[in-house]
Amino acid sequence: MNRDNLIGLTDLLLFIFIVILSLVGLAILYSATNQNLDIVLRQSFRLLFCFVLMLSICFIDTNKLKIFTPYIYIASILLLLFTLFWGHDSKGATRWIILFGFSFQVSEILKIILPMTLAWYLSISDDKEIDIKKLFFSLIIIFLPIVFILKQPDLGTSLIVLICGMITLFLSGLKTKHISFIVISFLTIAPLLWKFLLLPYQKQRILTLIDPGSDPLGSGYHIIQSKIAVGSGGFFGKGFLNGTQSQLEFLPERGTDFIFAVFAEEFGFFGVIILFLFYSIIIFRFILITLRAKSYFAKTLSGSITSIFILLIITNISMAIGVLPVVGVTLPLLSLGGSSLLSIFFAFGIMFSIARRS
């Protein structure tokens, strides 16, 4: 239906809301950076680049995409390795590499590439049932990049990438007994992970979530200030550019992790509802695309993307309202940052491509 259209008439709606949310993102970024036009302009260029990327991917046939998938996976593993050896340090972790003059965080894009690879792996054989052998290789596909990300070290992103992979496995019909096995084994090793794998600052982050008052000027500061920002927004908010928590810089990481707090402070509960409605329209289109997807690969991939998109929103907002530890997840379309933007628009491209084929 309407295959000749650029992106398909039905998904013009999707396209329009992506544009709207991107503009909302630029506006709130303008406020969060204390009206720093420079940063906003740079983000606009990134957005333009991402739109171009999205439209290019949109024209790639889903089957071709499927064929490219293993190569993309291997390339991203290599880039992760490259990051470990030649990446540059920031705040005690090596997460970034410079690609074509842009600094780039490879682990971000794995949130999409890992589900894509799993969808490819599980769809190549005719029998769609996930037996023990398939499960084993699936887990290898999942854990190979995660080990490298953990090594950076970046526990937050590792966990998110792991969950993204698990979502694909779950959607592909992972057997209930395997699910219980994975859950039980995770619960068994969790205390060991806490003891041996977590670094003191990571433990602190989790502990402060339980009691932010224990260290109000240290790790609890982010959570306390963010909650104050959100709560003091009230029903209608303090107004655009009038958020005292953000304008007076009480709120840390305003452009990235806590952009939602800036939004909630300035636009209030009412604004948040509107924001949720905008996101809902995108998600609703995603669900439709998933249900209409023709191939198994396309269905699994679009289902995963839909779920991950919702998950990222939930995680980021949960951080801002103090119910999840600060794990460094950005808010799709609103947060500052090239890598997360790139992976989100990469996902959008895939969704449009799938939509064109259905």
Partner: protein, 615 residues
């Protein structure tokens, strides 16, 4: 067949997928719903709570200290005022690279090595503070240079703080006192709310006594601040109300003159107007410059050791035996109790002896004075005569008469921590020394020695009562204060006026006039200027007791710290006194040689130069 199996597998897989997709979506939507509930709770239900938190986050209450009142002398000359002290300081919580800031500042204004070391020391010592001073007392040029590089560094700033300036330095240091950092002891008694954000408080002298008057009423500002604590703008403010100025009774020219006479000695001199109690000049030496005390935040301990207690205000806290200056009062007492009268004569030999003891109480004049009466024994300061008077009176009568002249109690001057001195009494000796009173103790009380200690202020006060013939003026430093005579003072005044005859007063005044104006008076040679009709009395206080058989040694053989204290009380003009002076000089020698000439110079200077100037 194969195709159908594949189809059914496909259909089956799709069914499983849809099933799982719906489950996942349901879970995720449930989480979204929970987030919305949480947001509703934060933004709608708990709005007031977070709104308050956000306001207190961004609004700081800053109390502004009032401008301290200025202190003037009686001719409206400034004795203490305020100027701004600019200092470069670094906010150590805000600064990102302190080393770099110091390097840059050093390049602009050349810091000394010591200043940099001090900064790091203070940074550790006062780690709880935000701002640490890098260099204080900046010149205007230095202020401009630092301001020019301030934009480059977060945390570097120039602040102005109050600097109390005492233009007359050492000359007024004990009277005015000084302000200093509020310390733990001050915090115990002061209104913490009023002094919030204030660094200094009056520590001594007028600055302390009139702290409430000088301080004023603090104002406040509600300032919006950012997360780093930098002030952005005032939301609301009420300016501070400056402290009241104080006009002192001090005449700075007389004070300067008095200081020039006393500097180099250890001692005190006070000039007072006997008519109204106004202190015209008040000196205690040695003194140190109070301005330096402030700038260095503390006093140089070495300098204190070198000098003889320069912080000690001898005028109101120095305790000295009154010596022979007490003799006019002993004579009044003797006449009042009728143990002597103006007509009797008495043979005063080289010493006095009690009938019960072999101890000899020597006269200062080795050969004795021969036949003396009251007047002559005051004029020549005959010790033996007053040993006799004291012995006849007994210590109770003597002591209670001394009380009428404020000895043993505070005069009530508007200065903090005035000393009351010691009145000779049986009770005091037994309580403080542990021995019983002897008749010998009574005898030497008659010449102002023994267990009898007075302050220079008490001496000038007593002298003013003699000069006024019984009228009491309470000493004061604030020209506008009206010290009230309490019932006890009124009772004393009534007694002195009604129970002591005018003849007695006149006799004493005449005797004291002759001390200065009759050839054999002990202070005759102390001044050549006799036209101001000065009356006075010398005193020489032994610091150590000469053994009774020992002849007095030559002054030169005695080490400095054992030399006599030189005392003098005087007033003029004798018939209508306008100025009373009391001077004590420690460890120099006789009263007639040191204290008397100095005091008489002060009196003459006042009557010839100062008084005439404002008439």
């Amino acid at each position: 067949m194969r195709k159908s199996i594949l189809d059914s597998s496909r259909v089956n897989a799709e069914k499983i997928f849809n099933n799982r997709f719906y489950i996942l979506l349901t879970i995720l939507l449930l989480l979204v719903f929970l987030i919305l509930v949480r947001l509703y709770y934060l933004q709608v239900i708990s709005y007031d709570h977070f709104d308050t938190l956000s306001e207190t986050n961004r609004i700081k209450y800053v109390q502004t200290s009032p401008r301290r009142g200025i202190i003037f002398d009686r001719n409206n000359l400034v004795l203490a005022d305020n100027s701004s002290l600019y200092s470069a300081q670094i906010n150590i919580k805000e600064a990102t690279n302190i080393k770099k800031i110091i390097e840059d500042v050093d390049r602009e204004i050349n810091l000394t090595k010591k200043e940099i070391e001090n900064f790091y020391e203070k940074k550790i010592k006062y780690a709880h503070l935000n701002n640490i001073v890098l260099k204080g007392n900046l010149s205007e040029e230095e202020v401009a240079k630092i301001l020019s590089i301030r934009y480059k560094h977060d945390g570097l700033d120039v602040t102005a703080s109050l600097l109390r300036r005492y233009p007359y330095k050492k000359i007024t240091s004990h009277v005015i006192g000084s302000i200093g950092y509020i310390d733990k002891k001050d915090l115990l008694n002061l209104d913490k709310k009023k002094y919030r954000n204030t660094e200094y408080i009056g520590k001594t002298g007028i600055e302390k006594f009139y702290e409430d008057t000088l301080y004023g009423v603090p104002g406040y500002r509600h300032v919006e601040i950012n997360a780093k604590g930098r002030e952005l703008r005032d939301i609301e403010k009420k300016p501070a109300f400056p402290g009241d100025d104080i006009y002192l009774t001090i005449d700075i020219n007389l004070q300067k003159y008095m200081y020039s006479l006393l500097s180099g000695y250890v001692g005190s001199s006070i000039a007072m107007n006997p008519k109204n109690g106004e202190i015209l000049g008040m000196i205690s030496t040695p003194a140190i410059d109070p301005n330096r005390k402030l700038w260095k935040y503390e006093i140089d301990q070495d300098e204190i050791k070198k000098l003889n207690s320069p912080l000690f205000n001898r005028s109101i806290n120095g305790l000295y035996s009154p010596g022979s200056t007490i003799k006019p009062i002993v004579a009044l007492s003797g006449m009042h109790h009728e143990v002597i009268n103006s007509l009797d004569e008495y043979y005063a030999g080289p010493f006095f002896q009690l009938p019960t003891s072999s101890r000899r109480f020597r006269d200062w004049k080795p050969e004795g004075h021969g036949m003396v009466d009251i007047k002559k024994s005051i004029i020549q300061s005959c010790d033996v005569y007053f040993y006799m008077v004291a012995n006849k009176l007994g210590i109770e009568k003597l002591s209670s008469f001394f009380k009428y002249f404020s000895f043993g109690s505070k005069t009530g001057i508007d200065m903090p921590n005035e000393s009351a001195g010691v009145l000779p009494s049986k009770e005091w000796k037994f309580k403080n020394i542990g021995y019983k009173w002897t008749d010998g103790d009574t005898v030497i009380s008659g010449i102002g020695q023994g267990y009898f200690l007075t302050t220079p202020l008490q001496l000038v006060y007593a002298a003013s009562i003699i000069a006024n013939k019984g009228t009491i003026s309470i000493p004061k430093l604030n020209i506008n204060s009206k010290p009230k005579k309490n019932t006890e003072i009124l009772k004393i005044e009534e007694f002195l006026k009604n129970n002591i005859s005018l003849e007695d007063w006149n006799l004493i005044n005449d005797a004291m006039f002759k001390v200065v104006n009759k050839k054999n008076g002990t202070a005759y040679w102390s001044t050549n200027n006799k036209k101001n009709n000065i009356a006075g009395k010398t005193g020489t206080v032994q610091v150590y007791e000469i053994s009774q058989d020992d002849d007095r040694k030559d002054d030169k053989e005695i080490p400095d710290h054992l030399k006599d204290h030189s005392l003098y009380i005087g007033y003029a003009p004798a018939d209508k006194p306008e100025i009373v002076v009391a001077t004590v000089i420690e460890n120099v020698g006789s009263g007639s040689k040191y204290a008397a000439p100095i005091s008489n110079k002060i009196i003459n200077y006042y009557l010839d130069n100062v008084r005439n100037n404002f008439e």
